[in-house]
Assembly symmetry: D3
Homo-oligomer: 319 residues x 6
Amino acid sequence: MSESDLVTFGETMLRLSPPDQERLEDAREFEVRAGGAESNVAIAAQRLGTPATWMSKVPETPLGRRTVGELRQHGIDTEVVWSHRGRQGTYYLERAGEPRGTNVIYDRENTAVSTAKARELDLDTIKDARVFFTTGITPALSSTLRDTTASLLKAAREGGTTTAFDFNYRRKLWSPEEAEETMTHLFPGIDVLVIAARDARTVLGFEGDPRQLAHKLGSQYEFETVVVTRGSEGAIGWHDSVVHEQPAYDTDTVSRIGTGDAFTGAFIARRLEGDDVPTALEYAAATAALKRTIPGDVAQVTEEEVEAVVREGGEALSR
Amino acid sequence: MSESDLVTFGETMLRLSPPDQERLEDAREFEVRAGGAESNVAIAAQRLGTPATWMSKVPETPLGRRTVGELRQHGIDTEVVWSHRGRQGTYYLERAGEPRGTNVIYDRENTAVSTAKARELDLDTIKDARVFFTTGITPALSSTLRDTTASLLKAAREGGTTTAFDFNYRRKLWSPEEAEETMTHLFPGIDVLVIAARDARTVLGFEGDPRQLAHKLGSQYEFETVVVTRGSEGAIGWHDSVVHEQPAYDTDTVSRIGTGDAFTGAFIARRLEGDDVPTALEYAAATAALKRTIPGDVAQVTEEEVEAVVREGGEALSR
Amino acid sequence: MSESDLVTFGETMLRLSPPDQERLEDAREFEVRAGGAESNVAIAAQRLGTPATWMSKVPETPLGRRTVGELRQHGIDTEVVWSHRGRQGTYYLERAGEPRGTNVIYDRENTAVSTAKARELDLDTIKDARVFFTTGITPALSSTLRDTTASLLKAAREGGTTTAFDFNYRRKLWSPEEAEETMTHLFPGIDVLVIAARDARTVLGFEGDPRQLAHKLGSQYEFETVVVTRGSEGAIGWHDSVVHEQPAYDTDTVSRIGTGDAFTGAFIARRLEGDDVPTALEYAAATAALKRTIPGDVAQVTEEEVEAVVREGGEALSR
Amino acid sequence: MSESDLVTFGETMLRLSPPDQERLEDAREFEVRAGGAESNVAIAAQRLGTPATWMSKVPETPLGRRTVGELRQHGIDTEVVWSHRGRQGTYYLERAGEPRGTNVIYDRENTAVSTAKARELDLDTIKDARVFFTTGITPALSSTLRDTTASLLKAAREGGTTTAFDFNYRRKLWSPEEAEETMTHLFPGIDVLVIAARDARTVLGFEGDPRQLAHKLGSQYEFETVVVTRGSEGAIGWHDSVVHEQPAYDTDTVSRIGTGDAFTGAFIARRLEGDDVPTALEYAAATAALKRTIPGDVAQVTEEEVEAVVREGGEALSR
Amino acid sequence: MSESDLVTFGETMLRLSPPDQERLEDAREFEVRAGGAESNVAIAAQRLGTPATWMSKVPETPLGRRTVGELRQHGIDTEVVWSHRGRQGTYYLERAGEPRGTNVIYDRENTAVSTAKARELDLDTIKDARVFFTTGITPALSSTLRDTTASLLKAAREGGTTTAFDFNYRRKLWSPEEAEETMTHLFPGIDVLVIAARDARTVLGFEGDPRQLAHKLGSQYEFETVVVTRGSEGAIGWHDSVVHEQPAYDTDTVSRIGTGDAFTGAFIARRLEGDDVPTALEYAAATAALKRTIPGDVAQVTEEEVEAVVREGGEALSR
Amino acid sequence: MSESDLVTFGETMLRLSPPDQERLEDAREFEVRAGGAESNVAIAAQRLGTPATWMSKVPETPLGRRTVGELRQHGIDTEVVWSHRGRQGTYYLERAGEPRGTNVIYDRENTAVSTAKARELDLDTIKDARVFFTTGITPALSSTLRDTTASLLKAAREGGTTTAFDFNYRRKLWSPEEAEETMTHLFPGIDVLVIAARDARTVLGFEGDPRQLAHKLGSQYEFETVVVTRGSEGAIGWHDSVVHEQPAYDTDTVSRIGTGDAFTGAFIARRLEGDDVPTALEYAAATAALKRTIPGDVAQVTEEEVEAVVREGGEALSR
């Protein structure tokens, strides 16, 4: 059993992508990297000083071990159920500028993680943590994981562990209707919700500007904190009925993937350090900005770098 | 004998280029790709649903076979005279931003294709096609090919095959005077002419804005259709004495090479599908836009992608 | 409908392998190539002058198109049912010397091809061919494919097409018992059987030296021709109750994968050219030897190269 | 404080090597890997099931973090004093066949680790372990590390931790005389000594065949266990005055570097599992054999693979 | 002894950088290139037609020979004292967009060149040259090099050789106070000073706009020529009490490193060709612009390219 | 004019080769290196301490400059006539084991060097050298070069420069009859002849064992020295009517290309140093052995490495 302040649970896939902006259809080689929302969040938090553990079920194969090894390289602990059944999820990433646009092809059916049951997992690790985190991707992967997600959130509550959740709607995994039904059932077990303004509108049917979305969500579901993200336009934090606005930094972007996870991981880490919501949002935005300069899914940043962006960030604010 | 709606004839070279923006003078490795206007056009048309065949004369060497193999990979058929004499043409491409500028060094003298005579080629394939296409590069390569080009256009006419021709003036191959003389002799055998506004002015001596150029060319030489291209400013289509204007799409460009060929191939394919000229121009511009997001010479696109650009293209139009 | 002398049917996977002898567990990049027994056989035959078509069901995705494109590059025709359901099969290859040994991890469940039914496929292409070929891998992939294999062999017989079959037992796909039952039911529809001596013993339960195996198999099941392969010790051909022995050539091996397919493709091609069995075996062994000097699954050889090996092969024979 | 059965202490360098067998003098790129005897041993033990921690002092720079991250990827824990002074050690590796021979250039002066004092390190981690391991490279790096090595061995003894030591004489670091004097002073604090027969002769001045060397060393210095290694000729284990001989396995070698460390790590792991010396030697030889098939310094093996070599190893024995 | 118009003296390091914008912390490979201000200047001058020699002290190792070989590749001569002591300096370059920013980590302590004494060097080569050049980096590397720099400038004066000096303050090597004291002592031996406006202000304490800085510097220290550089805003030349302003060209930049050296090398070359200061500044700006389109430290340009930029540069001028 | 002890004249090509043992027909990238017999010989001599200059005519293009730059990197001087006409010669190298065998495709017609006339070249450089060297490849390239070769040999004689010549028959360039006629006309101008035993037999029609060949050649044409090479079986030196036999060293070979040139360059260098023929042959064999461990055409060796092979070579001798 590991002892981390933050425990996350979810799937991490192998990401296969042709070099540069080559087409999958023409590829002779793939770059291989591990990527998944929950491990990305754990790593971002760890890099900002919060001991973090990623929990999952992984096939006992070279591919599974490879995935776990890469996560450990970034400094987090891993608490893994090794499985002799089920695939390692993969996804194919084809990068492109407009009007082609970056494209993702999932190959994540029948994975080991999709069979993970709460009773297989070390619930004490969750109960002993200060924050437990997962995303809306997890319950979208299988009906088993729908139950597991609910059980883990319940275990966290029992242990007095704060629960944080990134809504992360993926239309390639399920319909808005399915997502809404599943997620709103989970909401009562969640303390901190991160959600894209777009998802709040198209999946949950809320209306209004992002400030209104945050307020409506927070009030209706009695979250402790709500963060509404708006991509390059920044984020809104709602806490104690007060709304805080955080613009995004300008960046020379090399990879957008993982930006939201970097934001969320840093936000959680700084809240755990005792920062108030506006300060945590500022560090989250700075971490996200640095992430955008880094290839791959993962926010390989240092606290010093994040602090430098926050410190010198005045003129760097987009507006 | 293959049975394609579109048959193209011309040279396809091996393109050797250092990675990224390295200098040729410092290169330790070259990327290798096949590229040629006529095969690019065939591939673009094929990708949009028009069965296409590229016809040429190629050395019976690993380099020649490599060139043909790459073209087949993209889905077209090839109708090749294998030659035991003559080189495989190559060109060296050095990519650079301004003020250095991308540079091309041809090494295409004494090639197998430069000796291709009409009697070696399968004229029935041309006669049975719906469109025959070549470019102004072909007659520039040798006096033999000047005669061959004329003979192929003649055979196409005899078979009732529409003839399409991209003017494609290359100053590294011949002088404007030579080009003008040769090309204007070919014009009576051509139904559809594609020409850059710049070439219409500097080689053929026409004056006026692109709309005027299209109209003058069409009227004077009695083409069925004229397309005047203006790079990032779009294109003009002239047909039945009516002029149609097609703006270019905004793109995040990774490679400009082959953009014109993608445009032309898509235009031909859509005309063969029965589209009117304005619609065909729109698909042509969308295909060209996608091409600019793809490394290499070739428009590796799908019909769905092109349609998506056309459909969502309203706001993407440059102006 | 294509018109080839040889038609093969089966699955072609994408092969993902780390460079050199790196471990999958440590890989940062994968080389990507297409590989499958039936397309390998088609390519080997085509390279020796026999027009060949590979038939299959493939997902309508970039990965599926990539697989088909690579096969076309090697010169064969493809007759593909494009599917909107089912995965593209992949396999991971980890190369290693002894005592680690090269290892293969299949990820080929729920593929498009595993749902291919005979009524979806163009049976006329098979009926119009001179030889139809598949392997024991195909019926091992799904119960649907068990039926399909039987139906295709039946269609071939109806069309007067010779049927050739490589036993190719794969223990990672099914048990010896399942394989024996399925295969022996298929045997009456097969004219030419290729089988490893090891499989004849451990799956079919035959005993004796390879000459005896060939004779027993041929007599018991009334095959027209039986080829028993013995890896680096060569092969035995049985035809008209006569046994012919063909040693293997010594080689500087870079990749053993695809050697058997190269052998079989060349054997079929030369038999179609009218060679007697001993001569066809000699060309088959020479093609297999060349394949072992070539990275990847595919016998990228020329007739001239094969003939040179046969011609100069006296002293190159092992033993 | 981590809780591992095995704790090792020493320097891990970044290894920079041109691809394949290119010369350093001509290199345009270097492969980058972490490598060091003590971390190699920890990883080999961990891979065989023994929780292991590597302890060191590392510069707080991207290079230092990179080194530690790579070690964590292989599954071990790291207990690191981060330093704001001192370099990250590097070494340049040029691979070559005979008669050129592989060459190593150290660039490891003024490193962070060379300033590591015992009082900076977490001695409790050592005291709570079951085995503490370091090598003769450590005291060769600086006079500070000579003292530190002695202090760590003393702390281990105080904690009841078994001490294991690989003699590992490096002539590029110090003279035989310096090595002999330093090492023999350390011997009384060491339980398990691993030493190359060559070093026993040329540095310590012992004579005789390897069995005699093992016996003389064990008797004279009252070690609990002595292992005398002989490269491709295997190893000798001496324990309770009994000598055990272990031949090496035949291998297709891609990299000899790290073979001895793989051997030692596996030996320690199996002894901790309760194996007797001959059995532990057999697993050690099998792990070393697998290592030789793997590029890089590190024995990325699994227990299953090692067991398979031991199980099937009868005929694989060299002799 | 070589006979060059320009002789430069200083350190050239090996530059190790991960591909693209990858983090050092995650790197598996480094690109390797030679780079140093004084060799960069020599190469830029040579490329513009001025025979140039780089003089230094280099370790007699593969790394040292590699560095010298790469410089020779670019056409200059090298006059090297081969040393059996001292390291080859290296630096690690991590490229990044904002807000991360490109970062450099020096590993250049205890190098061979830091021990170079004037009496080891071939002073006649300097005395016979027309210009001797070094930078403020050289005296920052060691106290020995402080003396050596002074001695070489003195030798140049004795030989009637013009002395040129780029101030090049590096805060990672010394403090502004140290730099100021050392440099102002060297000033009386210098004819041509190149200095960044920023350094003139923060190290030397001058105030005013760049024109004023140039004038104050020139007057106070009696330089023959002063060039004040302002990065993307161009440069100011002061000569005979007249100030000339040279804007920078707009560029598609791939690497800023070495831009200043390209500028200085071209300026020296054109002055040696007899150009007046404004013309030399124009060529210098054009060379710097081309450099920014070239990866690596070195201005691999041709005279023709530089002339083309100057000739067509009217509209390319920034501002 | 450069001042070298050894001057060589000939063509150096760009060598384009797919990685590892990939087929040209499947290549996506080529490695690029410079290679030519005469520059290889100059480099080998230079590496053993003999100042050497390579003389040629080269196109004034990036490809030409690239070739010359790479040669300079290896330390030799270059004396080049830059040409605005004629191609840069290239050759394609496909590496393969048996029975495929390494294959070379020349693309060296119409090169700049093929037009080189003696009056364009700096004959004084030859006259002032101690040895002038070229090979039988040079006169095979064009009739112009036949004359030029004769003129250069004549100029060397006039200057008192020893002439050395490697017969180097290339059947892809001319017939044995043409070669014999041309070469035997050149023989009277040659002092030192290097020739493969195979060429002496099949082109010149000599018979006997290699010792006899050396003696017959030396006596009949009155050479000062004859070296007959026999590949992996070593070489025979004939001088003053005495025959010396030099076996070849055993090697782990990565590239055979350039082995003969390494041998010849070292032989010349050691003769210039004053070694007798047997000693020079020994160094030549050692240099050739080291070359075989190095990728590429060029003997990137050091004197120390060669001496180490000679010193420790007793047991390394083949036989």
